[in-house]
Amino acid sequence: MTEVRPPIPDSGNEDDVLDVSFVDASALVALADRDDASHAAAVGAYQDLVTSGFRLFTTDLALTSAHELISAVLGQDAARFWLAQCNILVYRIALADLEEGRRAIEEGWSAPDATLADTIHLAVLDRLGVTDVFAVDRAFLAMLG
């Protein structure tokens, strides 16, 4: 993971920084599914982020995607319980993010296997100035370089 340090808004001190990481759907699923191949690594990474003081957020898109996957594979009861336990701050995707992600796909300047969700999330990260990502999806991580 790379480190990002956007300033704390209106903190009055330019030296104050906030360590922020975006949590994508694959990380949410890997944490929730104790049998997933990446579960142990994801739990370790999550604990590292928390103990290092990172503030975590996801998006409505990633949360919805994770819920769909958990519901399909772990069952609806597990998905309902998971959703109730998730206390992560959710960023609402803006129309501009959707449009930028869509352009990246349509105009072919995204990675060949990028999904619309991937390119939208790249737009969000770019706009918020966040470069630290907690993900286990190899294709998405490859896009981030």
Partner: protein, 108 residues
């Protein structure tokens, strides 16, 4: 250079800087890097008012979100870990591969 009607819809770099509460140099940087759409007329940058207002609103939303994030739960997923088991899926391979674990588990 531009008609009055068109000029009403265009903002100078200085006007945009005041709207965004940023320096004129910062606004020029947004323009150069393509973050803020603009056009060059007679060697000067001009910004469509609608683009400038949209940009300002997006930055306010981002700033507000980071402010909320600073005071958010520092351990927000502690109760959302290991809530179920797939029997051996692999989300690192993508959505399709993760969902494939269902088919592999299915009888027959």
């Amino acid at each position: 250079m531009v008609g009055n009607e068109l000029a009403d819809d265009l903002m100078t770099v200085a006007e945009t800087a005041r709207l965004l509460r940023r320096s004129t140099e910062q606004v020029r940087r947004y323009l150069r890097e393509g973050e803020l759409p603009g056009r060059r007329l007679g060697g000067q940058w001009f910004i469509d008012r609608e683009d400038a207002e949209t940009f300002a609103r997006q930055r306010r939303d981002g700033t507000e979100f980071l402010r909320r994030l600073a005071s958010s739960d520092p351990d927000p997923l502690r109760e959302a870990i290991a809530i179920g088991g797939s029997g051996g899926a692999d989300i690192a391979g993508g959505r399709a591969r993760y969902l494939r674990s269902l088919a592999e588990d299915a009888p027959g």
